[in-house]
Amino acid sequence: MSGLDQIFVGIGHGLAGWAPASVRPLVAAVLEIAGIMAVFGSCFALTTIVERKVLGRMQNRYGPNRVGPCGLLQPLADGIKMLTKEDIVPFSADKTVHFLAPLALTVPVWLAFAVLPFGRNMSAIELNSGILFFFAIGSASELAVFMAGWSSQNKYSLVGAMRAIAQMISYEVPLVLSTVPVLMLAGSLSLNDIVAAQGTYTFGGLARWNVFTPWGLAGLLLFLIAATAESNRSPFDLPEGESEIIAGFLTEYSGFKYALFFLGEYLGLFALTGLAVTLFLGGWHAPFQWLEWAPSWLWFGIKFGALIFLFIWVRATLPRLRLDQLLNFSWRFLTPLSLINLLVAAAWYWTGAWKSAAAPPVRWLLCAALIALPYHWLGQALRGASPPPRKYNYAE
């Protein structure tokens, strides 16, 4: 392994070495926490500016380029603005709950980063039930959103909070169910084992990532759709649907509390993207054998950036769903599909024993068909009796 790959691990051990033996594990833990918070804090700052620039470029304009060289200091400016802005608390608001809501959202999200493996033996805690811990922490954000909505005593916040609760709960189910095939095939709940399971290379040096299997591809798509809903992003940003209910549960927040909500939302997105990379895109493994020399955390970063770009790209394009469509989409389309995905994973595992030469493509197509047909039928069922295509007659 090259020195570059283990560079952060080396620094960590070096610094921890100076501390007296008794307090060494504590210092190591503090260093890891500091590392994660520094990396993902700056990644949050970077993403706000990258999102606005990419959105701009997709809309034929530049995006912020006045503050600092081509806009790079914009997050600094936003941060200062958020800190110096007056923090207005509505008179009739429930003060304590209004104050606690942003904290209740942001703190659990930081915890979720503890289990993600960012590189070869670079994960803060190696829990053997990593995924369980991740989802347990992830579900705390609903409570925070509802606290914010209820405590603002504002009609729009209440509507936004009600929507948030309905949305997050109904999308937690497909989110978790779409990860189950990965756990079954990898045989362990620990994220490091999952990444290790995807470590080997098949013909032509292509990595054996889960996404190259039919259930893996379907699982990744389901996971990403559910992740956009979990983090209130574009096609599903009903809780703060600004064209309908102003800013939903964020209406009565300003100044640093609003920045905290913003931070919490983005960190939630990063955590879910990190998990998607770990489960389906082979964590920190290189896509091809001959690319193994590059440091592992770099691969994690590239895949992470690609998924973030995908989220921004979706946000630039798609309009918002209505609440009943949103719930129908989850309960009548995503959840059944992720259940069927379990069957596909089982079929994949069962047909793994075929030895004949033509097995891999036939096996792939069989499993792909197993997921594609229900996708089509469920889609038709979701849209209901699809109305006859519109014809527009012309009067002279």
């Binding site: 470029r57 997709m58 034929n60 530049y62 038709q380």
Partner: protein, 196 residues
């Protein structure tokens, strides 16, 4: 396929994203203070008074006929006539305005004063950086602030200015010819009258 429409939409935004790096049609923003759009000849923002020759006040073409004040829809022009007359470009004695104020916070740059002015004395400017920090006095422009030379008018509205200049020169020649003819004509009748 169910997601076909969405994917087609995504391809569209991707094409615009890629296009914005090489295709000028896909990146249409003009960085205002650094780059500026080419001035359009017919553009109009607020009116200004045209004066000929070097000195502003005597050179003003305006003869305080008050037509523009009557016709201005939001009534933002305010003229007070001056008793002293001054010769205009043809030599005829014309009135001149003592006070000529335009309240540009009320003016809606419609250009009707330019259309109805019989002396081509008021034209539409193209300056739009008009922000001042004084809400009351700063936006009430008086005669001296409004007066701008004819060359400036030529620079802004080239075709219109050249037509007007041509017409004025031609009128001046006709007037001088008439004056010369009148100067020549009275001698003969005076002479015979005198001779008797």
């Amino acid at each position: 396929m169910n997601g076909a429409g969405i994917i087609k939409g995504m391809i569209e935004t991707a094409r615009n994203f890629a296009g914005s790096y090489h295709d000028s049609k896909r990146l249409t923003t003009v960085q205002y203070p650094e780059e500026k759009l080419a001035p359009v000849e017919n553009a109009r923002t607020i009116p200004f008074l045209v004066y000929d020759g070097g000195d502003a006040m005597p050179g003003l073409r305006c003869t305080a006929c008050m037509i523009c004040e009557k016709e201005c829809p939001p009534q933002c022009i305010y003229i007070v006539k001056d008793q002293v007359k001054k010769p205009d470009f043809v030599g005829k004695m014309q009135m001149q305005p003592k006070v000529f104020d335009i309240d540009i916070s009320v003016c809606m740059s419609c250009g009707i004063c330019v259309e109805v002015c019989p002396f081509d004395a008021i034209k539409m400017d193209q300056v739009f950086e008009l922000s001042t920090n004084d809400r009351f006095g700063g936006l009430l422009l008086n005669k001296t602030q409004l007066a701008k030379p004819n060359e400036y008018f030529n620079k802004l509205h080239k075709t219109e200015a050249s037509e007007i200049d041509a017409r004025r020169i031609e009128e001046k020649q006709k007037a001088e010819a008439a004056a010369a003819a009148k100067a020549a004509a009275p001698k003969p009748p005076a002479a015979p009258g005198g001779a008797k």
